[in-house]
């Protein structure tokens, strides 16, 4: 019996389909595959190429191996770091689960660095404190040298090999299959063979990572194109808080690669053109280990006021040579390598030139703390969207709010990867069979590819790369560290105009076998959608909060803006909506907004 009205699409049946093979997707897959389910991971790259691999510094957990610690202190720091835009129930859940999950990672084989007593090494990181900000710097970030993400991603991949997860690698997800009963699966394109596949599943998990490539200067991989968020927007769902993009204080100047916060955790510090430790002025207590948004803005201010370094006075210096060669090579070997390769600097002797660089997407697909995608129903009440889940950087739970703390992203992916897996297990208990699909449900997905392929060889078409570069430049010029009404209004206009021009873009490659230009075009569709909602959301938010810093509204405005932005695209128009922040934790009293001082 044919299920679909075509034989050009191969129809697969899985219990669960996970899009994305980063840490979140793999942790979720592991939970489900170990429970005996037929799990498929669809990934547009090979499994160990996902961007989790580039995470350096570590993963936060209140193990208390170095200094006594408590998950409530971790929770306080995370909420304060989020500039009170984080949902406190999710944050409590994450911080409470952290020690359990880090130990679990260790049991799975992650080669964490060790302390003398054989327990996991923990280093200080930005924005961490003890006793609710009163007890000084905490030491909470568990590390595998400065390759923690690599260690975790490879371990999770290994565990999935053990558990027998099905990997469909180099498959690009084109379209979510939805009907009145929710999400039923996903259409995908086999990049290597040029064939269509429809994956029908009782649950679909979006674990596609961030959208850093909407900006020109980013520490993100080329593959971080926000595919999950854009698929959700295509399916008529909104995305949450997309105006909050974290700028990491220490990307290598001019080239981008990240220099981990662990450098400052281990004792490195920043210097301006006057050779001054300027962070002590901005954050007298935490100094160089203030929260990332604070440090980034301080660097931007120093540069703007003419105290930058170098011939163009466009960066500052990160000094770590005083730590000694031995410590650098033992604890920060990767940084040594990166600085040498990308800045041409031997960091055991000289400081590294750094500047704030786009690093993390706090926003994403709105979910609750079970990883279920939530949206407002027709009656205005928030409800979960059946069968659709989102986790990791692609999702907005929101545990990061307006600014993420270093070491919380690796934590988020394992905590919510697992939580989502458990929630999917519950769903699978009473969704035992694959329901019949509309026989034509494959068409929209196929049309995306065929539409692009039809443009191949078209005369006077715009180049994909050119449109993308223009989009990235607009976002960089109008929506980076400092934002104002006039600049952003112009940015919104330009990005909308460019989105309209995307229609005239054309491929030069009409091949079906490993057509990476086609993949870049599909990714550009995604980036453009997210750039539009980011721009609109940023313009509308008339306050400064976390990573969203405005010159014209320098203060946080809790009366009007202690709420999440929801932005979607309907009839090709960006629509904004808002929802309240969940201020009520699960078991402890709420942390009310306070002035944020480091």
């Amino acid at each position: 019996m044919g299920y679909l009205s075509t034989d050009k699409v191969k129809h697969h049946f899985h219990d669960v389909v996970i899009i994305g093979s980063g840490g979140a997707g793999m942790r979720c897959a592991l939970q489900l595959a170990d429970a005996g389910h037929r799990v498929a991971i669809i990934t547009k790259v090979l499994p160990t190429r996902s961007h989790t691999v580039a995470a350096q510094g570590g993963i936060n957990a209140s193990l208390g191996n170095v200094l006594s610690d408590h998950w409530q202190w971790h929770m306080y720091d995370t909420i304060k770091g989020s500039d009170y835009l984080g949902d406190q129930d999710a944050i409590e859940y994450m911080c409470r689960a952290a020690p359990l999950l880090v130990r679990e990672l260790e049991h799975q084989g992650v080669p964490f660095s060790r302390l003398e007593d054989g327990t996991v090494y923990q280093r200080p990181f930005g924005g961490q404190s003890r006793e609710f900000g009163e007890g000084g710097q905490a030491s909470r970030t568990c590390a595998a040298a400065d390759r923690t993400g690599h260690a975790i991603l490879h371990t999770l991949y290994q565990q999935n090999l053990r558990a027998g997860t099905h990997f469909y690698q180099e498959f690009f997800a084109l379209d979510l299959i939805t009907d009145e009963n929710g999400c039923q699966g996903v259409m995908a394109w086999d990049i290597a063979k040029g064939e269509y596949h429809l994956f029908q599943a009782k649950a679909v998990v979006l674990a596609t990572g961030g959208a850093g490539r909407v900006f020109k200067m980013t520490t993100n991989a080329h593959i971080c194109t926000g595919d999950g968020g854009a698929l959700a927007v295509r399916a008529g769902l909104p995305v949450e808080d997309m105006e909050f993009f974290q700028f990491h204080p220490t990307g290598i100047a001019d080239v981008g690669p990240l220099i981990t916060e662990a450098v400052r955790g281990e004792g490195g510090y920043l210097l301006n053109g006057d050779n001054e430790r300027f962070m002590l002025r901005y954050a007298p207590t935490a100094g160089d280990l203030a929260s990332r948004d604070v440090v980034s803005r301080a660097i931007a201010l120093e540069i703007r006021e003419g105290r930058g370094c170098g011939p163009n006075k466009d960066h500052v210096l990160l000094k770590l040579d005083h730590l000694g060669t031995e410590l650098i090579l033992a604890k920060l070997p990767n940084i040594h390598e990166l600085a040498l390769r990308f800045a041409g600097v031997d960091c055991t002797k000289e400081p590294i030139p750094v500047q704030p660089t786009m690093h993390y997407t706090m926003g994403g697909i709105p979910t609750n703390r079970f990883g279920e995608v939530v949206s407002k129903g027709a009656d205005g009440v928030e409800a979960s969207y059946p069968g659709l889940y989102a986790i990791g950087e692609a999702a907005c739970v929101s545990v990061h709010g307006a600014n993420r703390l270093g070491g919380n992203s690796l934590l988020e992916i394992v905590v919510f990867g697992r939580a989502c897996g458990n929630q999917v297990l519950k769903r699978l208990r009473h969704h035992r069979y694959h329901p019949p699909l509309a026989p034509d449900c494959w068409q929209a997905g196929m049309e995306r590819v065929e539409g692009w392929l039809r443009t191949a060889g078209k005369q006077d078409g715009l180049k994909i790369a050119e449109v993308r570069l223009r989009m990235q430049t607009i976002m960089q010029d109008h929506f980076s560290v400092y934002r104002t009404e006039a600049v952003m209004a112009e940015g919104v206009e330009r990005i909308e105009a460019l989105a309209a021009e995307l229609e005239h873009a054309a491929l030069s490659d009409g091949s079906r076998i490993f057509n990476t230009e086609l993949v870049e075009a599909l990714e550009l569709d995604h980036l453009m959608a997210l750039a539009r909602v980011t721009a609109a959301g940023a313009l509308a938010r008339t306050e400064s909060r976390g990573a969203h810093a405005r010159d014209d509204y320098p203060e946080r405005d809790d009366a009007d803006w202690l709420r999440h932005t929801l932005a979607g695209i309907r009839d090709n128009k960006v629509e904004l909506d808002y929802k309240p922040v969940r201020m009520q934790p699960m078991t402890v009293p709420s942390f009310p907004p306070r002035k944020r001082v480091y």
Binding site: E106, R114, A221, R341, I513, N515
Partner: protein, 236 residues
């Protein structure tokens, strides 16, 4: 007028058929730190959209863009243009089946990785806390766990070229050793049983191309020697 670099890039399009050929390109130097990947990106984005290669992180940790550059395997994203003889010959990793241009089929490579059961195996129950490991025991893993599975070493190994179907190759054997030396892993005996084979392990003739090729400066030959010594020790 910017300084120009000459490249000669391997091209093969399975849909068009025909023989693979080398295509010449000219790319302007973008800056002193320019890497080969920047040049490939320039070609793809400005000159010829049909050029096909893999890339992801662009900073040498994901392992996507392993290529044969002027005859030596390496990662395009961390190979500086400055030190390369021109025209720069860029080819796919040797001995691999080419899907298109610079993209090769990695399935067998990952399949061999899976074969050594690369995950922690232990029979003692999990402790309440972490499995303890002293800094010295942890130091044994340095130079082992950093592997990014780019395939540069394995595809540089003549032994793997001749017997790649049965010889596991340096990358996989390095990972086998990574678990053998991990103090937490308790399956060393099984692992050695599985490795003790004239082809799987002993095809390594210490040619040492692998350690020359490794972009992360790891030494698979030393790891393979360690496995052989472990087998020797339990036999004598």
């Amino acid at each position: 007028m910017a300084e120009m670099i000459q490249l000669s890039v391997f091209r093969y399009d399975p849909e068009k058929g025909g023989k693979p050929f080398m295509q010449a390109y000219e790319v302007p130097v973008s800056g002193p730190g320019m890497k080969l990947l920047d040049a490939l990106n320039y070609i793809k984005w400005q000159l010829d959209g049909t050029l096909t290669y893999r890339r992801s992180c662009g900073e040498g940790v994901c392992g996507s863009d392993g290529l044969n550059i002027n005859g030596i395997n390496g990662l395009a994203c961390i190979t500086p243009i400055a030190g390369l003889k021109q025209p720069i010959h860029v080819r796919p990793l040797p001995s691999m089946e080419v899907i298109r241009d610079l993209v090769v089929d990695m399935d067998h490579f990952f399949d061999q990785y899976r074969q050594i059961q690369p995950w922690l195996q232990a029979v003692t129950p999990m402790p309440e806390h972490e499995r303890l490991q002293s800094p010295a025991q942890r130091a044994e893993l340095d130079g082992q766990y950093e592997c990014i599975l780019c395939g540069c070493c394995t595809t540089a190994c003549p032994s793997w070229w001749w017997n790649g179907d049965r010889f596991l190759g340096p990358a996989t054997l390095l990972q086998a050793n990574r678990w053998i030396v991990d103090s937490r892993d308790e399956a060393m005996g099984d692992r050695l049983d599985q490795l003790e084979d004239a082809f799987r392990l002993y095809r390594c003739h210490q040619i040492m191309n692998c350690m020359e090729a490794c972009p992360k400066e790891l030494n698979p030959t030393a790891a393979i020697d360690n496995i052989k010594r472990k087998i020797l020790a339990r036999k004598s």
